[in-house]
């Protein structure tokens, strides 16, 4: 899939994703070793984007499973279409009647019906959910398990089982084994500690806010119409704001939004009035806003003009 770490970096860049050497190394290893990657880091640094880009550059379809509290096997793996099964048995009542009409005894009738199990417990009546889709897919896929920390620990244990052999057993149908080992990306915001077992199974990648150089490149890529001078100013300001003691420091997605809005406003350089009026795009809490406003002069002093 990838020949070298450099190739990963190049192809990701081609898909408009600036992967640091660390990210590229982990992706390379995951592809080579067939291991899931557990991505951690603050919100908005491109964890989910990483999986999307991976699916793009490898030309594999992306199957996404969003985790939330109360997610269970039924919603993640498969579910029988009960209603459809019931409907079919109702409609086929006469045929079933025929089948057992001449059965000499009750046990005989039961075993005749049992012989038809396959008709009702087949893939026809099964609605596959993301995990089963990923495993049964004819083409190799990228499976994104988003925000695994939101799901309950039991689900995590179940997921661990699936991820360790890439097979699931459906009692009525037998074991389904993956034709291709999917590339799996799990993301977590660290809302709670994940179990040791899951961590052990995965390669671990921590994505932090990008370095100034990387962030500048990201902005140039994502907002190509931005003047160079403004791009530099935006990066410098955002990097400075992150050093303030904020409840939620602005992430990459926010700095991109901000840059876009500045371009729409046709700004050429940052000034206090402009910053104050667009600051809400960058910081989302009232308290944070006040703090940034208070330090506006200091921030602008470090911005190259």
């Amino acid at each position: 899939m990838f020949e070298s770490v450099e190739e990963v970096q190049q192809r990701f860049r081609g898909a408009h994703y600036i992967a640091s050497r660390r990210i590229a190394t982990v992706v390379f290893l995951a592809a080579r070793m067939g291991r899931p990657v557990l991505v951690e880091g603050p919100a908005g640094v491109g964890k989910t984007e990483l999986a999307k880009t991976l699916s793009e550059v490898t030309a594999r379809p992306l199957i996404r499973m969003q985790c939330y509290e109360g997610l269970d096997e039924g919603k993640a793996l498969y579910e029988w279409k009960y209603a459809k099964q019931l409907l079919y048995t109702q409609l086929l009542r006469d045929r079933i009647g025929e089948l057992i009409a001449d059965a000499p005894s009750l046990p005989e009738a039961v075993s005749r019906i049992a012989g038809q199990d396959d008709a009702f417990f087949s893939y026809r009546f099964l609605s596959p959910r993301p995990l089963l889709q990923a495993i049964r897919s004819d083409d190799p896929v990228v499976l994104l398990v988003d925000e695994i920390d939101k799901a309950e620990p039991e689900f995590e244990a179940f997921l661990l089982e699936v991820l360790s052999d890439f097979q699931v057993s459906i009692p009525e149908l037998g074991t389904v084994k993956a034709r291709h080992v999917p590339l799996v990306v799990l993301t977590s915001n660290n809302a709670r500690e994940l179990s040791d077992g899951l961590k052990r199974r995965c390669l671990h990648l921590f994505i932090d806010f990008p370095a100034p150089g990387d962030e500048l490149e990201i902005i140039r890529l994502k907002v190509p119409e931005i003047p160079e001078r403004l791009a530099r100013a935006v990066v410098a300001a955002v990097q400075k704001i992150r050093t303030l003691d904020l409840r939620k420091p602005p992430s990459v997605s926010e700095s991109i939004d901000w840059a876009r809005s500045l371009v729409i406003l046709n700004a050429q350089a940052l000034d206090p009035a402009l910053m104050e009026s667009t600051l809400t795009l960058l910081v989302k809490y009232e308290k944070d806003l006040e703090r940034v406003k208070a330090g506006l002069d200091k921030i602008l002093a470090e911005v190259p003009s």
Partner: protein
């Protein structure tokens, strides 16, 4: 290669990181995929397979640098340590060795023309013979440096040096030049000795990474809180933070056992309608466990200030385990300080609560007055889900204990837990009124050290609210 990775993993484990065998195998497999071409990539490879916590990354980087020495950088460092290269001397010595066909000791050769990395390799080889794996304490550094140094044949080197000097003298060099050459050789010898010691020190840091810190932590956990120096108080913050994390981690595991419930008849019947009244899908009602409300009341007079400080830090670091935390401080007047914790960081809020809250810090503690005021103003806001955590030595300076106030409070709440930073032997002696307050409390615990404090809070989080109340 594999051996070196395994040894590195041993270092990480000694630094209190949990690494399983399967992770170690992963690291080996991954390293084989990546190869050794690029140092940074190699480090990332080990980190991604071995480390699963972002907070451990720093430790790994440090140990990686100690273990997988950056030979290039090291060479630069050594060059600097060896002093400025004197090309003329260097050349002259080279020519001499060539022309005279001198048979020199290996080490002398190394000293005369060796690069830093080669010297380091020689020292490392020496270290393996000197039993360096027993190195654990700083006091051993001198001993092991000597043992490594003993591996080299110093007399042979000195003889070599004398021989070279004699030959040079025979060639008719003037005394000034001779002195310069001798000086050059001696400096290199000296630098080499220094390198040995540095090597041993580096090995020590690698083997016993943060062992000192660990030791301090253990000692501090057992030290009475009132006896802590300001320095130790600062160190202690880290200890308390670790403690809080441990309690929280354990709690995350525990959640698993809670997720079971009784049949939710309403939802089950509702859904069964679509299957003609057959309950195809069964819904369970999650047993909803209320997170507890916590009220802390801390004595902040001089004698128990440290204990209050750490308890506040611990409780507020664990605030997600509670639905609501409120904190009060008193000496004799009582004041609520909760707001400070909402607005600023825990540490700053604590400092403020201990020094800047609107209470008089210079009067004598009066528990009775504080409790009666609390009962007077806050009783309405207490309910059955609230637990009150009192921290104080119950030394009432012979004021009226007003134990009725505490009893009144007890009637409104789920329970009162009293932590006393004074040893149990002193309760009830002198102006201590602990025995008068104790009947109103559900639990009274001695809490002289941080270890005891941790135990109490741990118990609180894991057991107190789990009892069938």
């Amino acid at each position: 290669m594999e051996e070196r990775i395994l040894e590195f993993i041993g270092d990480l484990r000694r630094a209190e990181m949990r690494i399983s065998t399967s992770e170690a195998l992963d690291a080996l497999a991954a390293a084989a995929e990546i190869g050794l071409t690029d140092r940074d990539t190699f480090r990332t490879t080990l980190a991604t397979t071995l480390v699963k916590e972002a907070r451990d990354l720093e430790t790994v980087d440090r140990l990686f640098n100690l273990y997988f020495l950056d030979l290039q950088a090291l060479g630069e460092g050594v060059k600097k340590a060896l002093g400025p290269e004197d090309p003329r001397v260097h050349e002259m010595l080279d020519r001499l060795v060539d022309e005279e066909n001198l048979q020199l000791d290996e080490l002398t050769e190394l000293l005369m023309r060796g690069q830093g990395s080669e010297m380091e390799m020689a020292i490392r080889a020496g270290g393996q013979h000197a039993g360096l794996e027993r190195l654990m304490y700083f006091l051993q550094v001198g001993y092991f440096s000597r043992r490594i140094a003993d591996q080299f044949d110093w007399t042979a080197i000195e003889q070599d040096v004398e021989r070279i000097m004699a030959l040079l003298e025979a060639r008719g060099l003037d005394p000034g030049q001779l002195a310069r050459i001798r000086n050059y050789l001696e400096l290199r010898l000296e630098a080499f000795r220094r390198m040995i010691r540095q090597h041993v020190e580096r090995e020590l840091e690698r083997r016993a990474y943060r062992a000192g810190e660990r030791l301090t932590r253990e000692v501090l956990s057992e030290k009475p809180l009132f006896a802590l120096t300001p320095d130790e108080v600062a160190q202690m913050r880290g200890v308390v933070a670790r403690l809080a994390r441990r309690i929280k981690d354990a709690l995350a595991l525990r959640q698993r056992q809670e997720q079971r419930g009784r049949l939710d008849t309403r939802r089950t019947i509702r859904r069964s309608l679509s299957y003609g009244g057959v309950p195809m899908e069964v819904f369970l009602r999650r047993r909803h466990r209320d997170k507890p409300k916590l009220v802390t009341i801390c004595d902040v007079s001089d004698s128990v200030r440290n204990a209050s400080r750490f308890m506040l830090q611990l409780v507020w670091s664990l605030q997600e385990c509670f639905s609501r935390v409120r904190s009060y401080v008193f000496v004799s007047e009582i004041a609520e300080v909760t707001q400070a914790f909402r607005e600023t960081q825990v540490e700053r809020a604590i400092e403020w609560a201990l020094k800047g809250a609107p209470v008089d810090y210079h009067c004598r503690s009066d528990f009775g007055y504080a409790f009666s005021r609390f009962a007077h103003t806050e009783l309405e806001s207490l309910d059955r889900k609230t637990t009150i955590l009192v921290l104080g030595d119950a030394r009432n300076n012979y004021n009226d204990p007003q134990a009725w106030a505490l009893r009144l409070i007890r009637e409104r709440v789920k329970g009162i837990i009293w932590l006393n930073p004074e040893g149990q032997w002193g309760w009830g002696i002198g102006d201590s009124v602990m025995p008068l307050y104790a009947p109103a409390c559900d639990i009274v615990r001695e809490c002289r050290t941080i270890g005891q404090l941790g135990e109490v809070v741990d118990n609180l989080v894991h057991r107190w609210w789990r009892r069938g109340h």
